[in-house]
């Protein structure tokens, strides 16, 4: 099972803007490399990343081969209530991983 690292503050004030950082282990093989014998190394990348908060999508990204190995993505969100962030990475060869993080609003 590939590892993910998520950085979400455990607590925040209602209405404040927080930064969310995510790091997912993945080789992000571009599909543009060739072996010495000339065969194409097949593309194997994460194509989509989504973050939902209490079920509602708050951020999404389409990724291409130019995203570096072990994709690192950070973004911001406004804290409205306590709840759960769900992260989802989808990619080639049936890749599908999820992670979660909770936040308490003070």
């Amino acid at each position: 099972m590939p590892s993910a690292l998520i950085n979400v503050p455990a607590k925040a004030k209602r209405g404040s803007v927080i930064e969310i950082k995510t790091l997912m282990s993945h080789i992000m093989e571009t599909g543009y490399r060739h072996t010495a014998s000339g065969d194409v190394v097949p593309r194997d990348i994460i194509t989509s990343f989504t973050c939902r908060f209490n079920g509602t999508e708050i951020f999404r990204a389409d990724l291409y081969p130019a995203i570096a190995a072990n994709p690192f993505i950070t973004f911001f969100t406004t804290v409205t209530e306590s709840g759960k962030f769900e992260f989802e990475w989808i990619g080639d060869k049936g890749f599908s991983e999820t992670a979660q993080a909770s936040i308490t609003v003070e």
Binding site: S3, L5, L23, N70
Partner: protein, 257 residues
């Protein structure tokens, strides 16, 4: 292209002064030669891709394996306690074998002797992950090679290998890492070749890699036949590098360009 770059360097170092050891006060980790962006990647755990391997290592630490059906944790308990400082004195002398072994080989000895499982291959994700997890428990602790008198002749051999010119470019490690560490080679810093961060995430590899992988890359760079993984020569070089870096803090998992 790359060969051309190397030959340009050869001319640059040819006139350099004779190899001299770097004084203690001038010892600098590769970290200090990096750009602010690359340093930031190492500084923050959630931005450091090496930490993904450490997480994998933590999971493996707790997983039962082999005919003995034992996990590392079953014998060593909490790695944060039992493995603290361990990486600072590797390679260490292994009495049963009569020679020094590096941390990777030590972990594989536990795989075979204590878990009765097959050893992990060098540079396999599992071995890198476990080594990174064990070494990370020494992060911030100064390198303190064992003063085991049995190690002395091996450190000496490593020193000799470090000084010896080799390869088509006829360069020794010392010509770059003692004599020219403040210079640049095709735009990238040469550095002192300090072993403080291993296993580390190298942007060039887009992965974690061991110190031996790094040393093999340097040997290929000077067009020399790289020693095999786990060979006595690579362990001796590691040993010398660690004794040369005495007192410098461990950075595992570091990031390098």
């Amino acid at each position: 292209m790359r060969i051309a770059v190397c030959i340009a360097l050869l001319t640059a170092v040819a006139g350099a002064a004779l190899a001299a050891e770097i004084p203690l006060s001038e010892r600098r980790s590769g970290y200090s030669f990096m750009s602010a962006d690359t340093r930031a990647m190492q500084d923050e755990d959630t931005a450091n891709p090496g930490m993904l391997f450490v997480l994998d290592g933590e999971a493996l630490w707790k997983r039962k394996a082999g005919a003995a059906n034992k996990a590392c944790a079953d014998c060593h308990n909490d790695a944060r306690v039992s493995m603290k400082g361990v990486a600072t004195h590797y390679p260490a002398f292994e009495k049963a074998l009569g020679r020094p072994v590096e941390l990777e080989a030590r972990i594989n000895l536990c795989r075979t002797n204590h878990q009765q499982a097959s050893p992990f291959a060098y540079e396999s994700r599992e071995l890198l992950a476990l080594t990174a997890y064990v070494a990370q428990q020494s992060r911030g602790i100064p390198i303190a090679p064992g003063d085991d008198p049995e190690l002395a002749p091996f450190v000496e051999k490593g020193h000799a290998l470090f000084m010896q010119r080799q390869g088509q470019l006829n360069l020794g490690c010392t010509n770059c890492h003692d004599d020219n560490w403040d210079k640049k080679l095709a735009g990238s810093a040469i550095t002192q070749g300090q072993p403080t961060g291993y296993p580390l995430y190298r942007l060039e590899w887009q992965s974690l890699g061991s110190l031996q992988r790094r040393l093999r890359a340097c040997m290929t760079g000077i067009r020399a036949q790289a020693y095999d993984y786990g060979s006595p020569e690579l362990v001796e070089l590691e040993l010398y590098l660690m004794s040369r870096a005495r007192g410098m803090p461990i950075e595992t998992p570091a990031v390098r360009p």
